[in-house]
Amino acid sequence: MAAPTSFNTTKPTVETKEKVDYFNLPCPIPYEEMHREALMSLKPEVFEGMRFDFTKGINQKFALSHSVFMGPTEIPSQSSETIKIPTAHYEFGANYLDPKLMLLGRVLTDGRVNARVKCDLSDNLILKANAQLTSEPHMSHCMVNFDYKGKDYRSQFQLGNGALFGANYIQSVTPNLSLGGEVFWAGQHRKSGVGYAARYSTDKMVATGQVASTGIVALSYVQKVSEKVSLASDFMYNYMSRDVTASFGYDYILRQCRLRGKIDSNGCVTSFLEERLNMGLNFILSAEIDHRKKDYKFGFGLTVGE
């Protein structure tokens, strides 16, 4: 609960500048996307190996995508050493994008199917569904979300397989500050929890804090240095496993490329470069060095289309 109080202290400075109309507050960002700026800068999709993605639009709303991935993938194991086996797969996807309805489907050669639906039931109510089906038993997931967007609040109700129920609510308190809370109940694992979050954002910076009864404390701060550069840092503390991680990263969005770099307290250095070679042709370089585990991951890829 330290996070919300720390943000409350910054509130009066805003109020003194101009009279705030508390009946006309902006709509907050969805609860689950609370940390999105920090995540965008600090969590690029690092990969190891080669990937090739191709997206072809058939018409305005319909697009097909093909992607090939080759490279080692890690297998979870008990020992501290990571075990990697070389894999290769092809993924076929079909996207239907319409302002009211979005359908995404992905099929992998190893039999995994991923489907996502986003449908606007009315102006305020949005239905989101996400399903992952695999050939292995007990590994398939399904999740349905109902989002209700109010004038200065958002609420969401989640239903998942394994008797998972969740609900969250976020409310704008001042033009810059929004506070939210969530509850969830996982029937299969007999677990339940509550969480609180606060987000303070101006056009120059975003600060978020989140606590949950599962023992997680997450704080993040993103500073926009200029139009092109933003610096981000985050802090994560897990009370149950006594895990503390802090990381710091930069995010450069230049005309020809986007470059993201990160260093964290576990001795892990990551950088991710997306270079635009031509219109609709992007070259990706990804590097991750884990000094402590002596785990080095390098990858390159090509994205065509979009």
Binding site: K228, L254, C257, L259, I263, I289
Partner: protein, 129 residues
């Protein structure tokens, strides 16, 4: 016969000659043993120090290569790109661009700020997806 002779001769040479006694005294003195210990200790410490400095240098170097080198290269490319565009604009003889170039010569920060919105609209359009 030869072995017998040696057996006889050995004790005689073992009898404390001046040289042997001096060398014994030197080799068994506490200063020498202390010196030896210090020398081996320093050697050990230097070895450790060198090894850990090497490790630190390795970590710093690889981190630098991963985090900073791409950044420098990309910043340089961006700057080249900007300069090229300014040059082209001045060659085409568009008066506002020419003005901008003069501004750039006088105050690089001003010109950069002026050119920024164009750049970012473009970059965001590409990567926000």
């Amino acid at each position: 016969m030869a072995s017998q002779g040696r057996r006889v001769s050995l004790p005689t040479s073992g009898e404390d000659g001046i040289l042997a006694r001096v060398s014994n005294a030197v080799s068994q003195s506490s200063i020498i043993s202390q010196g030896k210990r210090i020398a081996s200790d320093t050697a050990y410490v230097t070895k450790k120090l060198l090894r850990s400095t090497g490790k630190a240098a390795w970590i710093a170097g690889t981190t630098f290569v991963i985090l900073v080198v791409p950044l420098i290269i990309e910043m340089d490319r961006e700057q080249q790109f900007n300069e090229m565009e300014l040059q082209q604009a001045s060659l085409l003889g568009a008066p506002p661009a020419a003005q901008q170039k003069f501004l750039y010569l006088e105050n690089p920060n001003l010109a950069k700020g002026g050119a920024a919105p164009l750049i970012n609209a473009d970059a965001n359009a590409n990567f926000s997806l």
